[in-house]
């Protein structure tokens, strides 16, 4: 019988790390404040006490060194799980992410590979402004060789993190900060994996597809609820793996409904929504009843707390976009 517990996303992540450390002695955790402090969001709580300072390492305050040495660790036979305290600080490690971790396999004709996971909290909604709330997924989705994933539920968080740790390639694992403690879900205690590269149909519907990921999935779901009471049947798809995209699932859904609204927190220009929309019109052009529409953050830096709620896509904006494509 499966043992399950009702966990928040942050607890599910903690449990996945614990399980990986217990199961595979090559796994290690490194980052800032991940040791005795248990991480600024408590993702690594209790791990230092359980596995010691050799496997749960408080690094010097230097992101380039964290990711760069994790690349070295991975090349040297370890399975490092590095934490970047807030995704915005990954700019300090941009070179290691984009020209090193992601390209070593290609450059060495597959002789080397980098089984590395970089975890990072991201996104807004928690009043921690600017760099601390950045959504940078599009920058990283532009890099061949790097996988970019983001869960929206505790169950997926654990299963996708374990899959990422087992994955042979570098994975950027983006954790929506505002969902860390937003709700609980039944999560099996044992090891299970949610495969990377597969989107999830959250709910089925016929009239319009709402495509979202990470922190915007609950927003899309709430919008679908609200549309349902107006007699509109919305399908919600959680993209989950942002690179490489599961275009098959997305195309299937949009072929069925003929209409799509893409929702993400990140700024609009050059965002992942543009990539998804372009791919869908290539694949489902003859099924489309309306232009594919985006609901996104605006093209400014992430704003001050006073304007945050206004800046972030919300249920009303998603509904308005759905109505636009329905009445086009």
């Amino acid at each position: 019988m499966d043992v399950v517990a009702s966990l928040t996303m942050i607890q599910a992540i903690n449990q996945a790390l614990d399980l990986a450390l217990a199961t595979d002695e090559r796994v290690m955790v490194l980052g800032e404040d991940v040791g005795p402090n248990g991480g600024v969001f408590r993702a690594t709580e209790g791990l230092y006490e359980k596995y010691g300072g050799q496997r749960v390492v408080d690094t010097p305050l230097a992101e380039s060194a964290i990711v760069g040495s994790a690349v070295g660790l991975a090349l040297g036979g370890m399975r490092p799980v590095a934490e970047i305290q807030f995704l915005g600080f990954i700019f300090e490690a941009m070179d290691q992410m984009s020209t090193q971790a992601s390209r070593l396999r290609f450059r060495s004709q597959g002789r080397h590979h980098v089984p590395l996971v970089v975890r990072a909290p991201y996104g807004g909604g928690v009043r921690t402004p600017e760099i601390h709330s950045d959504s940078l997924e599009a920058l990283f989705s532009h890099l061949p060789g790097l996988k970019v994933v983001t869960p929206s539920t505790p169950y997926d968080a654990k299963g996708m993190l374990l899959a990422s740790i087992r994955d042979p390639d570098p994975v950027l694992f983006l954790e929506p900060m505002r969902l860390y403690r937003a709700g609980r879900q039944e999560v099996p205690e044992a090891w299970y994996e949610v495969p990377l590269g597969e989107a999830r149909v959250v709910r089925t519907g016929d009239d319009v597809t709402l495509i979202a990921y990470g922190p915007m999935v609950p927003v899309a779901e709430a919008a679908a609820d609200s549309l349902a009471s107006a007699g509109i049947s919305a399908e919600v798809v959680d993209v989950r793996t942002l690179s490489p995209l599961d275009l098959e699932t997305l195309t299937q859904s949009v072929t069925k409904t003929g209409r799509a609204v893409i929702v993400h927190e990140a700024q609009r220009t050059g965002g992942l929504g543009a990539e998804i929309a372009a791919s869908l019109q290539e694949r489902a052009f003859l099924s489309l009843e309306a232009p594919i529409t985006r609901v996104t953050g605006y093209d400014t830096p992430f704003p001050m707390p006073a304007l945050e709620d206004w800046w972030l896509p919300d249920v009303e904006r998603v509904k308005a976009a759905a109505e636009f494509v329905l009445h086009y």
């Binding site: 800032e32 915005g88 009043r127």
Partner: protein, 326 residues
């Protein structure tokens, strides 16, 4: 203290700014706990290092590149309590950014206080560049970067020192070493005992100073500033101090340091030490102190009320200042 230039009036003024900063700091925490300020970073414990250094500079004219810890510094440098509160509460009239910038990311263009961008140590290289500009323009300005010891693990710190030393730039690297980077103790940050030891590797003097003594800090910064203005190049200064409260309002320091350790450090509270010293020297009387405390209370209340009544930024202004021209 014979010829360091510090008159009794200046010393009283130093004390005033240290005490003002502590009172502002306390108020900010209360505002946070009441849900009125989104996040609070503190200078609590660092006041002597910050105020002492400010007084040694050409305040308002030399460039300073502070970090989130530097409330006492910016108050001593000329920011008013009202301006500070407008910034902390993210109001439209925040002189730094109209409420755009993260709280405690101090800035004031008129006073040559350069606002920073959260990513630690990035201000170190800015100070180097500002100093290079001053050298070229011969404007007589010194640039000072302020930073924690944890941030000295970043590449930018090393890159800034190296560049500045090679070009003999008029810059001071002022480290506030409180022994922790959030939870991480400095022994996990570096294998050397002192940040100042790193100066040698770049070819500049490294000076250690008691960061709880504003007069000593004043003296070493003054010397470094003179050196910089003479064209003799940069100095790395390490002020040893302690932070008495958590890293920020989101931190719980009980997870990584004992209450005993904090209590022990508080025996060297710079505010109390300086107060005793000024009294002993006959510069500060009980009466004068009481008067000052009342004044500070009024100023802090006024700043809080003023900022709380001030309007928040208008959403329509969000696109202002993304670009200079389109």
């Amino acid at each position: 203290m014979a010829d360091n230039g510090l008159t009794p009036e200046l010393m009283l003024d130093m004390y005033y700014h240290m005490a003002l900063s502590r009172a502002m700091d306390d108020r900010m925490w209360i505002l946070n706990r009441q849900g009125r300020a989104p996040v609070v970073y503190t200078s609590n414990g660092h006041e002597a290092a910050q105020v002492g250094s400010a007084f040694a500079l050409n305040r308002g004219e030399d460039w300073i590149c502070p970090y989130y810890r530097d409330l006492a510094l910016v108050l001593a440098y000329g920011m008013t309590p009202r301006e500070v509160m407008l910034h902390v509460l993210g109001r439209a009239d925040d002189p730094n950014s109209g409420g755009r910038q993260m709280p405690a990311h101090w800035g004031h263009a008129k006073l040559h206080i350069l606002t920073g961008g959260s990513v630690v140590a990035t201000q170190d290289v800015h100070a180097t560049g500002l100093a290079l500009a001053s050298k070229i323009l011969k404007d007589g300005r010194v640039a000072v970067a302020y930073f924690g010891e944890g941030s000295t693990s970043q590449g930018e710190f090393h890159e800034a020192l190296n560049f500045a030393a090679v070009h003999k730039l008029p810059v001071i690297f002022f480290n506030e070493n409180n022994g922790y980077a959030i939870s991480v103790p400095s022994r996990k940050q570096m294998a050397v005992q002192d940040v100042a030891a790193r100066a040698q590797g770049y070819g500049m003097p490294g000076v250690i100073v008691d960061g709880n003594d504003p007069v000593k800090v004043y003296e070493v910064v003054k010397e470094a500033a003179d050196r910089a203005r003479r064209g003799d190049g940069p100095t790395l200064i390490e002020a040893k101090t302690y932070r008495f409260v958590p890293h920020s309002s989101d931190d719980d320091d009980r997870a990584y340091r004992t209450r005993e350790e904090v209590q022990e450090a508080k025996k060297r509270d710079p505010l109390i030490l300086f107060e005793a010293r000024l009294k002993e020297a006959g510069i500060l009387t009980d009466e004068k102190l009481k008067e000052m405390q009342q004044q500070i209370k009024d100023v802090v209340n006024d700043a809080t009320d003023y900022a709380e009544k001030a309007p928040l930024p208008d959403p329509a202004t969000l696109w202002d200042h993304v670009y200079g021209s389109l």
